[in-house]
């Protein structure tokens, strides 16, 4: 809350400075979003707040157009056509379907996408490092590398990392493939336990005992529903359990780094501002989340046989006590 107030204050003072500096005609930012949803609405708010903080005041030197397709793809397409026809300075497309329909029709207008997990798979960009065309943006892909950095900081000697996943969940499978690739790049091995339903999670977690130094859970819906089963195995076998989502920390995982969609929107807002200032989207690499919040649960660490160092705890955005 205090952070929010500070931001507003900072934003207001910057706005005052900026409004003196720029009195030219307003820049136009058009924001299309596939559906009203708390996370996507937060992205929209984040983009607007970031622009405000950077001196773009709505109604003064900035005009924001915002439309939601209410989950209807034909309307999303018409919103895209309307925005392209109005030729704003930047179009912001929130979520994959909205981004794809804008990308299908936008020829020269800069586009910034947000809340898109796999922009290369969605064919929005050919190369995430150098998009080349008129489209770039922020991906909400799990920052697995940053998660692994954190895991290795807490468990420095870890050589074998275990995970439990549902092979029937497409999203989970692709995350596990990515996890395996990132671990191999560091010379570590991944040990997998498969659970096709929540009742199998306990067995899958037990199969990891003795084979792994730490357990990392992705945002697999099946496994997260039964995260307590993995955590209880971790406690009994003294294997620290890490999660990709911060909510699991309160349920007894040692630590997790998550992000908030409002900050995701702020990051997209930075890209919009850079384009307004003259940068070309084709030269701007697709970004993943930079601002991550570390959640730690020292008591859970004790139960799993590790002690979180003071500097890790000091860095945490939140020190959680287990619910139980």
């Amino acid at each position: 809350m205090a952070k929010q107030t500070l931001r507003t204050l900072l934003g207001a003072s910057l706005m005052a400075v900026a409004s003196l500096a720029q009195a030219a005609e307003p820049r136009v930012v058009a924001i299309t979003q596939i559906v009203e949803h708390p996370a996507l609405d937060a992205v929209y708010q984040g983009v607007k707040d970031e622009l405000a903080e950077r001196g773009y005041t709505e109604g003064d030197n900035l005009k924001v157009m915002h439309e939601s397709a209410q989950g209807n793809s034909a309307i999303a397409s018409q919103i895209a056509r309307k925005f392209i026809g109005d030729s704003p300075d930047v179009i912001v497309a929130i979520a994959t379907p909205s981004a794809q329909t804008v990308a299908a029709a936008a020829r020269n207008i800069p586009v910034v996408f947000a809340a898109v997990t796999d922009p290369v798979g969605a064919k929005l960009v050919k190369n995430a490092e150098a998009p080349g065309a008129n489209i770039t943006g922020v991906s909400d892909m799990l920052p697995i590398d940053k998660h692994l950095d954190m895991l290795l900081r807490v468990v420095p000697g870890a050589k074998r990392v275990g995970t439990v996943y549902n092979p029937g969940e497409a999203n989970a499978v692709s995350l596990v493939e990515l996890l395996e690739e990132r671990l191999q790049a560091r010379g570590l091995t991944l040990v997998k336990g498969a659970a096709t339903k929540t009742s199998e999670v306990l067995g899958a977690a037990r199969s990891l005992v003795g084979k792994v130094d730490a357990i990392y859970l992705t945002t697999d819906n099946t496994v997260i529903s039964a995260a307590e089963a993995v955590i209880s195995v971790g406690e009994r076998a003294k294997i620290p359990v890490f999660a990709a989502d911060t909510a699991t920390v309160a349920r007894g995982a040692v630590a997790a780094m998550g992000f908030d969609y409002y900050d995701h929107g702020r990051q997209a807002g930075v890209m919009v501002a850079r384009i307004l200032e003259g940068e070309k989207p084709g030269d701007m690499a697709v970004e993943t989340m930079e601002k991550l919040d570390l959640f730690v649960n020292p008591e859970a660490g004790e139960r799993m046989g590790i002690t979180l160092s003071d500097d890790v705890i000091a860095e945490a955005a939140e020190v959680v006590k287990s619910d139980k």
């Binding site: 439309e67 209410q70 018409q78 309307k82 026809g85 994959t96 990308a103 497409a170």
Partner: protein
């Protein structure tokens, strides 16, 4: 005011939904078969076309397969109704929800991107036309061809038998028409058209998505009823033209609503606008003349 791109975009989407309106005319009006399968066969057509195009198939061949997939889905609904005696509305709901799983299986994931792939539109972009007019040209040709084919079909012996089946099944049976077969054929053709619409929509939008089918039935119905309010469907040709006109009017109304800042209307008001449009379309002709029975009670 409405920009060129928004205007042609509305016509483009309207032409695609004109195919859906044809389908709904065929099921609701001709066969008297309330068919909700379309909410599933639209993304099915998109999914089949997208998967095959990604696989390197010729886009027209992929689109043809999408039509066949839609027809198969329609046939399933009709067989559930005709052979297993399940109420028509319920049969179509069953197929519709089953198709959600089928579509996920077909695609293997919830979204397949077609951006940058060769689609039916690709060769047309080399024409000397602004890029936003190209899809309109192609879809006008597609819908005109579909209209002619449907019209000729309705005038054929099979088509007449199908119309008789919808108008008076008992009499049709007495005349020796196999009404069950007519229903299966009609609902299959209807969903084949929806599969075609889904395939074309995915190619013009750059992606197939499992959620694409949401509300297709309502938009199709609104287009059909809106069109009938403008053009009295006294003959088959007029009814088919009414479908296209209605679908385009509906899309133009949305484009104007998106632009109508001065009215304070926004995209989130669209569902309300749809309801008002459909209501007006039903009520207005009744005020104008006394043919209200034609629209409120079918073929009384």
């Amino acid at each position: 005011m409405l920009s060129d791109i928004a205007l042609y975009g509305a016509i483009e989407t309207g032409l695609i939904y004109g195919l859906v309106a044809f389908a709904i005319y065929l099921s609701f009006r001709v066969l008297d078969f309330p068919d909700l399968t379309v909410d599933g066969s639209f993304p099915l057509g998109a999914a089949v076309a997208a998967v095959l195009i990604i696989d390197g198939w010729d886009p027209w061949l992929a689109t043809g397969c999408a039509v066949l997939a839609g027809m198969a889905a329609g046939a399933v609904t009709a067989i559930l109704n005709v052979k297993l005696k399940i109420l028509n509305l319920l049969a179509s709901i069953l197929t519709m929800i089953a198709l959600y799983s089928v579509n996920l299986r077909v695609m293997g994931r919830p979204n397949i991107a077609l951006l940058g792939e060769d689609t039916v539109l690709t060769p047309w972009y080399s024409l000397d036309l602004p890029y936003h007019q190209v899809p309109v040209l192609l879809f006008v040709i597609v819908i005109f061809a579909s209209l002619i084919l449907l019209w000729r079909f309705m005038k054929s012996e099979t088509g007449l038998a199908m119309r008789a089946t919808g108008a008076n099944p008992r009499m049709a049976r007495a005349q020796g028409i196999a009404t069950g077969a007519m229903i299966i054929l009609g609902v299959a053709v209807s969903n084949g058209l929806v599969g075609l619409a889904g395939a074309l929509f995915a190619q013009s939008q750059g992606a197939a998505d499992v959620t694409m089918g949401v509300g297709v039935i309502v938009i199709g119905l609104a287009s059909l009823i809106g069109g009938e309010a403008v053009i009295t469907p006294s003959t088959v040709v007029r009814a088919l033209i009414a479908c296209v006109v209605g679908a385009i009017i509906y899309r133009l109304a949305i484009a104007f609503a998106l632009n109508a800042d001065f009215l304070g209307l926004q995209a989130q008001d669209l569902n309300l606008i749809t309801a008002v449009l459909v209501t007006l379309a039903i009520v207005l002709p009744g005020i104008r003349s006394s043919v209200v029975g034609k629209l409120t009670r079918k073929k009384a």
